[in-house]
């Protein structure tokens, strides 16, 4: 039985964690994710959720306590953003290396400096090499669904890896949207209790987090990497099962009007809806443009990107993060996806919406027309274009 509520993105992820019957939630407040632990503590206080909440003194301790609790056999969730995620950095690698299926909602927010609390993907992009899975929601419905599915995927014995579910700061974390959700009974049926293969159990002593010399370190890294590489079929299977049970379809990457497109714009997160609308409008004007939305950034959908975008003249990446001295991180991934293809589109990079700057229909028109011009000229120069930037307003640097 489907129910509907009009809720904020943080409430959607908290609701999913509650319906997943999380055992332990270690949490530390940070804008824009604070409503997640607030809702969890409310659920516990109301008797709607039987869980232990650990009010830690930092995000570093939040993820450390999450590891301890997960290793002891608990289903664990938490939420953070930006600086909080960056503070967790060293520990994130250890959570995934221990193969602990912790699920974490991220209110995608810009990293300091300057300090800024608005939507941006720099925080999770900076954690792309930590060995976690990464999912990005377009709206609050996706935030709920992906959060719930993240537990199932993460805990699957073929995967056993932690997962981040990204939802854009404010645009999703704080915005009220209608969200459909199944009954508790249906969720219990979809997500049985966590059955960890290894735990800190006095009846079966095990050593977690041992010291690895050059003789064994690479094998640990290899097996961890393989688990991530081999996870796509499991993710697809669980997405498919979710669709059968609850009627909502998910794909690791979704194409829109890509078949005959000359230019395909690739985006992630909340701008994907704006992008599809821009594509609809441009199509009316006869512009052959398509859109691709990436939901699963880790494991990266190399094959699917090539299949969806291989026929275009140019792929325009619209990304909410920058790797200074290189390009946007997504550019490197997509260029990598195409590098060994016998023929490939030009690949052009656009930086959009950093620190919560609005991304509008007009911006996507500009991206499409710039990219089409590049395709006509047969060269992408410069590689990285900043959309909506005012160089005259930029603060002075060193001379």
């Amino acid at each position: 039985m489907e129910m509907k509520e009009i809720i904020r993105g943080n409430m959607a992820t908290a609701l999913a964690a509650k319906m997943a019957r999380v055992d332990v939630v270690p949490a530390f407040p940070i804008t824009p994710s604070t409503l997640f632990p607030e809702k969890i503590s409310e659920y516990i206080a109301n008797g709607e959720l039987d869980a232990e909440m650990i009010l830690v003194e930092s995000e570093h301790s939040a993820i450390s306590a999450a590891i301890g609790a997960s290793a002891a056999g608990a289903r664990v969730a938490t939420a953070t953003a930006s600086q909080g995620l960056a503070l967790m950095h060293e520990v994130l690698f250890i959570a995934s290396a221990m193969r602990l299926p912790i699920v974490m909602a991220i209110g995608n927010r810009a990293l300091s400096g300057p300090i800024n609390i608005w939507a941006d993907h720099s925080d999770t992009m900076a954690e792309r090499d930590t060995g976690w899975m990464q999912f990005y929601a377009e709206n609050n419905q996706e935030a709920f669904d992906l959060m719930l599915m993240a537990f199932r995927i993460a805990e699957d014995r073929r995967v056993l890896l932690p997962a981040m579910v990204g939802l854009d700061a404010f645009t999703l974390t704080h915005t009220m949207e209608p969200v459909d959700y199944p009954s508790q009974e249906e969720v219990d049926d979809f997500l049985p209790p966590y059955q960890p293969p290894y735990t800190l159990d006095v009846n079966r002593p095990m050593t977690f987090g041992s010291f690895a010399t050059p003789e064994s370190y690479m094998e640990f890294k290899w097996s961890h990497t393989r688990a991530l590489e081999e996870s796509p079929p499991v993710i697809d299977e669980i997405f498919e099962e979710y669709k059968k049970r609850f009627g909502r379809e998910y794909k690791r990457v979704t194409g829109y009007m890509t078949e005959d497109a000359d230019v395909i714009i690739v985006a992630m997160g909340s701008v994907s809806g704006t992008l599809r609308e821009a594509v609809r409008q441009m199509r009316k004007d006869g512009i052959r443009v398509g859109a691709v939305k990436i939901t699963t950034f880790r494991p990266f959908p190399f094959k699917e990107i090539v299949e969806l975008c291989g026929g275009a003249k140019i792929v325009a990446i619209a990304e909410r993060a920058i790797s200074p001295g290189f390009a946007g991180p997504l550019f490197g991934e997509i260029a990598g996806a195409f590098i060994n293809q016998p023929s490939r589109p030009l690949i052009s990079d656009f930086i959009i919406g950093l620190g919560g700057r609005d991304v509008t229909l007009k911006d996507f028109r500009e991206i499409a027309s710039t990219a089409l011009k590049e395709a006509e000229e047969g060269r992408v120069e410069p590689l990285v274009k900043w959309i909506n930037i005012n160089p005259e307003e930029a603060p002075p640097g060193g001379e």
Partner: protein
């Protein structure tokens, strides 16, 4: 708060580890575990004890043991304790944390403060050898006075 302490004939911190001959820390840990008994879970900070006792694929620990990083043994132990409580497995199980003096009072101070304030049922053991010894005798903030002759202490 109940702590169950049992004597045991079985070695819970076994020989064959790589601690220096005569190392006080290894001896102390062995004795702590003899008192704590087999129903014990240990969270260990990075340091000599962790390095010397767990070179993969060997381990000196005959009880469940976890190491995550340097500054967070108290936070890891908090998580273990909370999980055991929630899962109904806490009764009769000791949760211990081991850290050096640096891992306790210097880099580990924040996590320890949080753990103590929250009141977790965890016993935290510090091996105080008066410096960051594993990296080669560097000073930290617990030192009472000058760490080297002629140098101002903290």
């Amino acid at each position: 708060m109940t702590v169950v302490i049992r004597n045991t004939d079985k070695e819970l911190f076994t020989s064959g580890h790589r601690g220096c001959a005569g190392c006080g820390e290894m001896t102390a840990v062995r004795q702590v575990l003899m008192v704590a008994g087999p129903n014990t879970i240990v969270a260990n900070a990075t340091g000599c004890l962790e390095v010397a006792s767990t070179g993969y694929p060997e381990t000196a620990w005959a009880i469940p043991w976890i190491h995550v990083a340097f500054e967070n043994a108290a936070a890891v132990a908090s998580g273990v304790e909370a999980a055991l409580k929630k899962l109904g497995k806490k009764e009769g199980v000791n949760v211990l944390a081991f850290a050096g003096d640096g891992g306790t009072f210097d880099i580990g101070l924040q996590a320890l403060s949080g753990m103590l304030e929250r009141g977790h049922d965890v016993k935290f053991f510090t091996f105080d050898n008066e410096a960051y010894m594993n990296t080669g005798i560097q000073n930290h903030r617990l030192l009472p006075g000058p760490s080297e002759e002629g140098e101002e202490g903290p």
